[in-house]
């Protein structure tokens, strides 16, 4: 009787902490410099306030798939992906410095640079 009380309180506490952190993470924030990271290595650093609109094609580490990272008017998003789930495309533009755009199959991350 006692043990399941503890389990319930622990689960409740984790839920509340996670909910608070989610709100903090989803807040709109971020700088202007972004970086494109693949396999833990930075491929490109782009200053969104200065660069022209462009599409960057990034081939996956095993060479069988790709992502297209689009810079449009100071925002960046993944506009195309060669994987079945397309989650990174549906995520839309990069908004928060805490929440990078991630493509798990192609091991690609688009995030704001820390400076």
């Amino acid at each position: 009787m006692k043990k399941n009380r503890i389990v319930m309180i622990a689960a409740g506490a984790v839920f509340v902490i996670a909910a608070v952190l989610s709100v903090l993470i989803l807040r709109h924030s971020g700088g202007t410099v972004i970086e494109i990271v693949q396999d833990g290595a930075v491929l490109q650093t782009i200053d969104l306030s200065r660069t022209a609109d462009q599409d960057i094609r990034i081939v996956s580490p095993d060479g069988t798939s790709y992502n297209i990272v689009s810079v449009r008017g100071g925002t960046v998003k993944v506009s195309e992906a060669g994987c079945p789930d397309q989650t990174c495309v549906h995520m839309g533009a990069l908004k928060s410095e805490n929440l990078p755009i991630v493509c798990l199959p192609n091991r690609l991350i688009v995030r704001f640079a820390e400076d």
Binding site: V7, V14, C88, V102, L104, R107
Partner: protein, 164 residues
């Protein structure tokens, strides 16, 4: 008796695969990697409370391997395997502590452990810590989905064979 057990496990594996494939057809509400309803987890939670640890592990392994093949998304295998392993270990331990009326709680914690395992795998594969930002969001959505699947499993356990 042994054959009956085998057939039941095979049937459960089939049911969980069907749920898994139906779920692939449901569009994702939140475009965040790793957010899922986890319908197949209903069967796992049911098995945790009705079968031995070994039998449940067999069921889950078969589901994950076959599910990855059927969905054609083999690259997602490592994430789902790590998540499912954490989830299964946690739920098997919780089974000793929680009564049958709190299967929903077991399922919620299982879902949370699944998310933690997934994120750990993602951090290892991507060699980057920044994916940890997804963990709080996954924990919140995961526990809501876990509550739903857990309640479903609880109803099945109490209706299908209440005598045990």
């Amino acid at each position: 008796m042994h054959t009956k057990r085998l057939v039941t496990l095979g049937l459960l594996t089939g049911i969980s695969l069907i749920l898994f494939i139906i779920e692939l057809r449901i569009p994702n509400l939140l475009p965040i990697p790793g957010v899922k309803l986890g319908l197949a987890n209903i069967v796992t939670v049911y098995a945790v409370f009705r079968f031995s640890a070994r039998e449940t592990a067999l069921l889950v392994c078969a589901r994950i391997l076959l599910g990855a093949m059927f969905s054609g998304n083999l690259s997602a295998l490592i994430y789902s395997a790590c998540g499912a392993l954490c989830c299964l270990l946690g739920m098997l331990l919780l089974r000793r502590v929680l009564p049958q009326k709190q299967i929903w709680l077991c399922s919620i914690i299982g879902a949370m452990l699944h998310n933690i395992g997934q994120i750990c795998a993602a951090m290892a594969v991507m060699r980057s810590l920044s994916v940890i930002a997804y963990l709080p969001i996954l924990l919140v959505t995961g526990s809501i989905a876990g509550l739903f699947t857990g309640l479903t499993a609880q109803f099945i356990v109490s209706r299908a064979d209440p005598g045990k």
